[in-house]
């Protein structure tokens, strides 16, 4: 069943694809339009530059009347980000306006990386270093920037964390596919290369029986709609 929240999220997604703001990207997770994965690239001329920070955005049926819950999944070191990745940002709390969409949320968080607010600290150490020992702050941030690239191939000996990492890997993969590599994949869909087949049947049909190939593709096209209408 489509609800106002889901309808609006589809609109948000469409707009994010058609008019993507610089340095942020996001998409609904594979089977749940109420849970999004997003990436914020560290803004230029900040210690966060070149970092690829992953986040989750969790919506309720009250969206857009109520803000979603946004959380960094990548490790973060910032005066306004809590240890669990949640963010202390007024527009996500008492200054939320229903006119904000996902695009506005992500760009606001991006500018928070640019301009931390050390007066309402969520991470006291980061706030203090930011105010008093900027060099030390930048060093700590540089470390999490590095870590942000490694999220996927981090091997951890702790078992609990390892499991968590696997989830991260999946999320990462999802993000990379939906956000970053989409243009590449799009052209691949346009022009398959049957000489290096990953799916032998598809390659064979593509070469020998185009009609059958198109029929099979049509089926998965229809399947791809299911998550949109009925989650």
């Amino acid at each position: 069943m489509t609800t106002p929240a889901r309808r609006r999220l589809m609109r948000d997604f469409k707009r994010l694809q058609e008019d993507p703001p610089a340095g942020v990207s996001g998409a609904p997770s594979d089977n749940n339009i109420m849970l999004w994965n997003a990436v914020i690239f560290g803004p230029h001329d900040t210690p966060f530059e070149d970092g690829t920070f992953k986040l989750t955005i969790e919506f309720t049926e009250e969206y857009p009347n109520k803000p979603p819950t946004v959380r960094f999944i990548s490790k973060m070191f910032h005066p306004n980000v809590y240890a669990d990745g949640s963010i202390c940002l007024d527009i996500l709390q008492n200054r939320w306006s229903p006119t904000y969409d996902v695009s506005a949320i992500l760009t606001s968080i991006q500018s928070l990386l640019h301009d931390p607010n050390p007066n309402s600290p969520a991470n006291y150490e980061a706030a203090q270093l930011y105010r008093e020992t900027r060099r030390e702050y930048e060093k700590k941030v540089a470390a999490i920037v590095q870590e942000s690239w490694n999220d996927d191939d981090d091997e951890d000996d702790d078992e609990g964390e390892e499991e968590e990492n696997n989830i991260l890997n999946l999320m990462e993969l999802d993000n990379v596919i939906t956000n970053l590599m989409l243009p590449l994949f799009q052209s691949l869909l346009d022009e398959p290369n049957p000489n290096s087949p990953a799916n032998n049947l598809a390659a064979k049909l593509y070469q020998e029986n185009r009609r059958e190939y198109e029929k099979k593709v049509k089926v998965i096209v229809e399947e791809s709609w299911i998550f949109i209408g009925e989650v």
Binding site: P4, R8, R15, T99, Y100, D101, N123
Partner: protein
């Protein structure tokens, strides 16, 4: 050092986000309210609500008697911080059902308001969504009819809340357009824009005098509010006249009347 701090104040962990707990608690309260109160209710007589509204208080009981001598019915609205907007929206559209001329005037204002808000810097993409829904609800009263469909729409979260959002945006727009005038009526060291983003635009933020003045002026709709407070033995009625100070000031007959009890607005229907 750190462990010492934790020992002396074990209940507060500075690295924990308490806002989320607060929000979760708030959500629970909202759910409870939503389960027990409709957004806009059926009509009640004063005899039906006298116990609830006076709660053994002689002054309120007396004031209900006063209302009874001038009004026939009352419609309750949900106490979710949006009651003023919802009461205003429903009561006003209800009067348009039997006033085609006023409908036309209002329709034009409502139609044009979108571009005005966009020019003030509201994001067009999301604003359009709210405006479209707002106009859909407005069009329900284009032709004379009963209130049944309107009541249903005002109890449909998707329509009713979007309608309230748009009224909030109209208030915000009016305040920002006349910022030099309203800046003196805002408490705290805040700009009008800050006030709007804190006290007007977020859903659930309650309305004060300044919000009512703005909405009646933005839409040019005079209204009356009966104040049921603890002073005097009758309700104090106050007319919000958007034409005040202009040549049309005298024509301002209130289009409908709201009842104010501290913190809440309902709709009154005259005898």
């Amino acid at each position: 050092m750190e462990s010492n701090i934790e020992e002396t104040t074990p209940s507060f962990d500075p690295s924990k986000n308490y806002d989320e707990d607060t929000l979760a608690q708030q959500r629970e309260i909202e759910k409870e309210i939503a389960a027990t109160q409709s957004m806009v209710s059926q009509l009640y007589t004063f005899d039906e609500i006298v116990e609830e509204y006076s709660q053994e208080d002689a002054i309120y009981r007396q004031k209900i008697e006063d209302l009874k001598s001038r009004f026939k019915n009352l419609r309750k609205t949900r106490g979710d911080g949006n009651c003023f907007y919802r009461a205003f929206g429903f009561a006003y559209l209800e009067t348009l059902l039997s006033n085609g001329k006023e409908y036309k005037r209002f329709f034009d204002i409502a139609q044009k308001s979108k571009d005005e808000l966009v020019s003030l810097g509201f994001p067009q993409f999301t604003l359009e969504d709210f405006h479209d829904t707002f106009m859909d609800v407005v069009k329900m009263v284009e032709k004379p009819g009963t209130t049944d469909a309107l009541l249903e729409a005002f109890n449909d979260g998707g329509l009713s809340d979007y309608f309230v959002v748009y009224l909030r945006l109209l208030v915000s727009g009016h305040l920002q357009q006349n910022a030099d005038l309203y800046v003196y009526f805002i408490d705290g060291e805040r700009t009008v824009k800050e006030f709007c983003s804190q006290e007007v635009e977020p859903m659930g933020k309650e309305s004060d005098h300044i919000h009512i003045v703005s909405l009646t002026k933005a839409l040019q709709v005079p209204i009356c509010v009966e104040y049921m407070d603890r002073e005097g033995d009758k309700c104090n009625s106050f007319t919000f006249n958007p034409f005040e100070g202009s040549a049309d000031a005298a024509d301002a007959t209130p289009v409908f009347t709201l009842l104010y009890r501290p913190g809440h607005y309902d709709i009154l229907y005259p005898l």
